[in-house]
């Protein structure tokens, strides 16, 4: 029976997972005290190593988990909410002056009219071009900043995206995949 003893590799395989041993070796290990002892010595050493490692590690100090987050509320986030409301009020006020404040404001020679320069400046921005016609005639560049092709590229028209470069490439890729 001695020639049937497990070799070193088989002992190690049995330590990793006994089910990985071939049936004959497995049944031998179950009945042979010598092979069981060889395996047992190694297993005991590994177990001892685990115990020693645990014994020689310091004890951990307790840890503190963070407090659960408080849900969004006025009392907790009041500065954020207050500044948000203030911003909203300013926006509403400006828009109200612009659209609901009666006829458009015009520059007037009076001092009160001069105070409205700021608001007329907003009107200037909203115009297509702030330059008088004379300066536009002598200006070297066109004041049509963005031509139609560029605008179409930035903001495609609905339904016009079928033939973009990406879609053509994707169609081609899908066709090649289908052919393959």
């Amino acid at each position: 029976m001695k020639d049937q003893h497990l070799d070193e590799d088989q002992i190690i395989v049995s330590m990793v997972d006994e089910h990985d041993l071939p049936g004959k070796s497995k049944s031998h290990l179950e009945t042979c005290p010598e092979c069981q002892e060889r395996k047992g010595v190694l297993m005991a050493q590994l177990e001892g190593m685990g115990h020693m490692a645990k014994k020689m590690a310091p004890r951990p100090r307790s840890i503190r988990l963070p407090e659960p987050k408080i849900s969004w509320g006025l009392s907790f986030r009041w500065p954020v909410v207050a500044s948000g409301l203030a911003s909203l009020f300013i926006i509403v006020a400006v828009w109200g002056l612009m659209f609901l404040g009666g006829p458009p404001l015009k520059m007037a020679p009076t001092p009160a009219g001069q105070q409205m320069v700021g608001l007329s400046f907003i009107d200037d921005i909203l115009e297509d071009s702030v330059l008088p016609a004379y300066y536009q005639d002598i200006a070297p560049v066109s004041f049509e900043y963005f031509d139609d092709a560029f605008m179409d590229f930035v903001i495609p028209l609905e339904g016009s995206d079928e033939d973009t470069l990406e879609n053509i490439s994707l169609k081609k890729y899908n066709t090649i995949r289908k052919e393959a």
Binding site: V16, Q45, M49, M52, A53, P60, R61, L65
Partner: protein, 194 residues
């Protein structure tokens, strides 16, 4: 002290994920010691281990809601801890490279009151342990430590490391061969076991 065997971990995980603070604290108490030791064995410094353990549990608290299978909580938690350790070593190596500092190798002894003999024994143990594991590849070392120092099963290791069970077994087989050939370390263990 909370007993891991007596607790229904998946149930605790479910409740903690739903926002039960008591269950979350119970989970932390259950695994705190194990995770701390896992980190300490790999980092070698009590302070660093405590910081990384804290980080691990913070990450756990944040991500618990995304854990789909509560039964896999343990390997999932170990994976977080292992990732923290890996990040720590990467940063340490980067710092050592940039500032030309030396990487510390020895285990720091804990601050617990230990007798001088105990300190000598601990130092010798860790020295021999590191000499033995240095002969292993990083993967072999990880698997070996998870199996016999952190006491995880093969399936748990596979889940914690994100590998197949057969890969884990292969690494473990190679590591055990190296362990068997480490006569110095085994002699030390023989003395302690007998």
């Amino acid at each position: 002290m909370v007993d891991l065997q007596k607790e229904n971990v998946p149930e605790l995980v479910q409740k903690a994920g739903a926002g039960d603070r008591g269950c979350l604290e119970k989970l932390v108490n259950l695994f705190h010691g194990d995770i701390f030791r896992l980190v300490y064995y790999r980092v070698g410094s009590r302070m660093e281990a405590e910081d990384l353990t804290q980080d691990t549990f913070l990450e756990m608290t944040r991500s618990l809601i995304r854990l789909r299978d509560p039964a896999k909580f343990k390997p999932w938690l170990y994976r977080i801890a292992l990732n923290k350790v890996r990040d720590f070593h990467r940063k340490k190596r980067l710092r050592a490279f940039l500032f030309r500092t030396k990487l510390a190798g020895d285990m720091e002894s804990g601050e617990d009151p230990v007798s001088p003999l105990g300190q000598v024994m601990a130092k010798e143990f860790w020295h021999e342990f590191h000499s033995m594991t240095q002969k292993m590849s990083p993967k072999e070392k990880d698997v070996f430590m998870l199996r016999y120092v952190d006491q995880l099963g093969i399936r748990e290791i596979a889940e914690a490391m994100g590998k197949s069970e057969s890969t884990i077994k292969t690494h473990l087989y190679r590591a055990l061969r190296k362990f068997k050939n480490a006569s110095g370390f085994r002699a030390l263990l023989k003395g302690s076991v007998s």
